[in-house]
């Protein structure tokens, strides 16, 4: 038995979140007394062999097939289901990426098993993995266990484990498993990946950001945010619903589907702090949250918190900045 971590590739390169999942897998493997196996899929994985086998794993397993050249849920699920039938992992971990959201639960379902998505923590109690994950939009956390016999499946949220603890060492053994796939098993045809905007606004280099969320209520109120940003010498950014509504352009969205930023100052106005927003800004040096709800999850990661109505706090801030400058 083993702990398996499925490594994700994009354009032939390993997606960094995979390393965090590998660290989570290593921790669990130690606690469970199991070996750690890294699994990767593709049409030709020679280029990443050395990089993978240098990691502290007991084995690297490669699944190669021409039909795995590009990701499809059908291809990945078929290949992994047959590999897992042979490897019989006790625990299978994945990075919580868009791709894993697309096929992970399907793979688990094919094997009649549950999939614990989006775990932010992982421990072992009585020889069983216990996952920590957010629920109710981050207002609560839950300890989650998987029932029954068989592989325990889970995905690990970005930033939950530190990849920098991984140190390269002597090459681990490498094995290729046979993959049986036929073209008629694959029912979707992926076309090219593309980006919509040329990325006219580069928030990642901004020193200060004022970010606005659904608490702003109406696009008519946005000038207040712009004024505050000007007073702070900051760029304006937003949570997703603001950009979905077209109140601000998509290129100002911060979060997993928008930009990742790490300014000196990130001031969040009327943003609840959903995990998909937080992954895009939690690296900021100083985080300020203004929210009328004292239990909003954004306060968990804030350095300074103001519980209050942004329509009172923002004008007061503009005034205080003008007075002190």
């Amino acid at each position: 038995m083993s702990v398996v971590v499925v490594i994700e590739l994009q354009d032939g390169a390993i997606v960094p979140m995979s390393w965090e999942a590998l660290v989570a897998g290593g921790t669990a493997a130690d606690a469970l007394g199991e070996s750690l196996i890294a699994v990767a899929l593709g049409s030709d994985l020679t280029a990443i062999e050395a990089q993978l086998s240098a990691k502290p794993v007991s084995e690297v397993v490669l699944l190669e097939h021409p039909l795995l050249e590009r990701y499809t849920a059908d291809g990945y699920v078929a290949a992994l289901a047959s590999a897992f039938a042979e490897l019989k992992p006790k625990l299978a971990l994945f990075p919580h990426t868009y791709q894993v959201r697309d096929f992970g639960p399907k793979l688990a379902a094919r094997m009649g098993r549950a999939f614990v998505s989006d775990a932010v923590g992982l421990g072992v109690e009585d020889g069983r993995p216990v996952f920590v994950r957010q629920m109710f939009q981050g207002k609560f956390q839950a300890d989650v266990t998987v029932e029954g016999e068989g592989t325990v499946f889970a995905s690990i949220q970005s930033g939950s484990f530190r990849a920098d603890v991984l140190v390269d060492g002597p090459a681990s053994p490498l094995r290729r498993l046979d993959v049986a796939l036929s073209a008629d098993q694959i029912r979707t045809k992926p076309l090219e990946r593309f980006r919509e905007t040329a990325g006219a606004v580069d928030l990642s280099s901004a020193e200060r950001i004022v970010s606005v969320g659904r608490g702003i209520k109406d696009p008519e109120n946005l000038p207040l945010v712009e004024k505050l940003a000007a007073a702070l010498g900051a760029e304006v950014a937003a949570s997703r619903p603001i950009c979905d509504n077209g109140w601000l352009p998509l290129e100002r969205q911060v979060g997993s589907s928008g930009q990742t930023v790490a300014p000196k100052l990130y001031l969040a106005l009327g943003i609840s702090g959903a995990i998909q927003h937080v992954v895009g800004m939690k690296g900021s040096k100083t985080i300020v949250a203004v929210n009328k709800d004292a239990s909003a999850p954004i306060f968990e990661i804030a350095d300074y918190g103001i519980v209050g109505d942004l329509f009172e706090v923002a004008p007061a801030l503009i005034e205080a900045l003008e007075r002190s400058s």
């Binding site: 959201r101 639960p105 399907k106 609560f140 998987v146 593309f194 990325g199 509504n245 300074y304």
Partner: protein, 256 residues
């Protein structure tokens, strides 16, 4: 095109939530329930597909008896029929069980397309749709932000990380999980609400569907999140809070 759309009833986004005495769910009676936000977008997309291509929209929910209210809302907005797979406590069912129940209900009639929201605002597992596709044995795409249909050929735009997208082609019957923001959701009209009363809302007891009640995964404990940082809360009037913050940003954090 005959479209099935799956809807979940969840606590309102801004509802104050309290833990239940059992400590593994919330007190549902004080959380004003509403239609899960991404599901509302999925419903809107289903209605638009019907307007463009003809056919029908059937709304499904697996939930407690009260979940009928989201189905009535769907009927009022223009769905033709609704099916509630009903069972006390089903709002807490794990996604594998929910998908098994939905699959058992949906399989009873032919369909061209199944739409679900990409995740629920309560448990947020984000997988009921993907698992449902596996159980119904149809191709799928998760996190869809655009659908184009020509006959049974579907071309959908999938959202990826960090502003990337990808188009994917497949043939119906298929399943798509819908991302919030894909369209502008309509309101129910008075006329629609009136009409809804004459539309069929079938209730199927979950127990009749032969789906195991054993949970695949269990929420052992629900609790307030632990803070990862020491947060300084600034108190007083808005003016006092603002002045304290500017002072701290300038002299303590030194970010101004």
């Amino acid at each position: 095109m005959d479209v099935v759309v799956c809807l979940k009833q969840v606590p309102a986004r801004d509802a104050a939530l309290r833990l239940s005495p059992a400590g593994n769910w919330i007190e549902t009676f004080d959380a004003s329930p509403e239609m899960n936000e991404p599901d509302a977008y999925a419903l809107e997309e289903a209605l638009r597909l019907k307007e463009r291509h003809g056919g029908s929209v059937t709304a499904f929910s697996a939930g407690p008896p009260e979940a009928a209210s989201v189905l009535r809302e769907a009927l009022a907005k223009g769905a033709d029929a609704a099916v509630l797979i009903e069972g006390e406590g089903l709002e807490q069912a794990d996604p594998l069980r929910t998908a098994r129940l939905l699959a058992a209900g949906i399989r009873r009639k032919p369909f061209d397309l199944v739409l679900t929201g990409l995740q629920s605002d309560d448990a947020g597992f984000g997988q009921t749709g993907v698992v449902l596709a596996e159980l119904l044995d149809v191709p799928h795409a998760a996190i869809v932000v655009e659908i184009a249909a020509e006959g049974d050929r579907l071309t959908v735009k999938q959202e990826l990380e960090a502003g990337w997208f990808q188009k994917v082609e497949m043939t119906a019957p298929a399943l798509l999980t819908i991302q919030s923001g894909i369209n502008k959701v309509r309101y129910a009209t008075l006329m629609g609400i009136k009409k809804a009363r004459t539309k069929p809302l079938e209730r199927i007891p979950a127990a009749e569907l032969g789906v195991s009640v054993e949970p695949a995964q269990k929420i052992a404990k629900l609790y307030a999140p632990q803070k990862s940082k020491q947060t300084q809360m600034l108190t007083g009037s808005a003016k006092e809070q603002a002045e304290a913050l500017v002072e701290k940003l300038r002299f303590e954090a030194r970010v101004l």
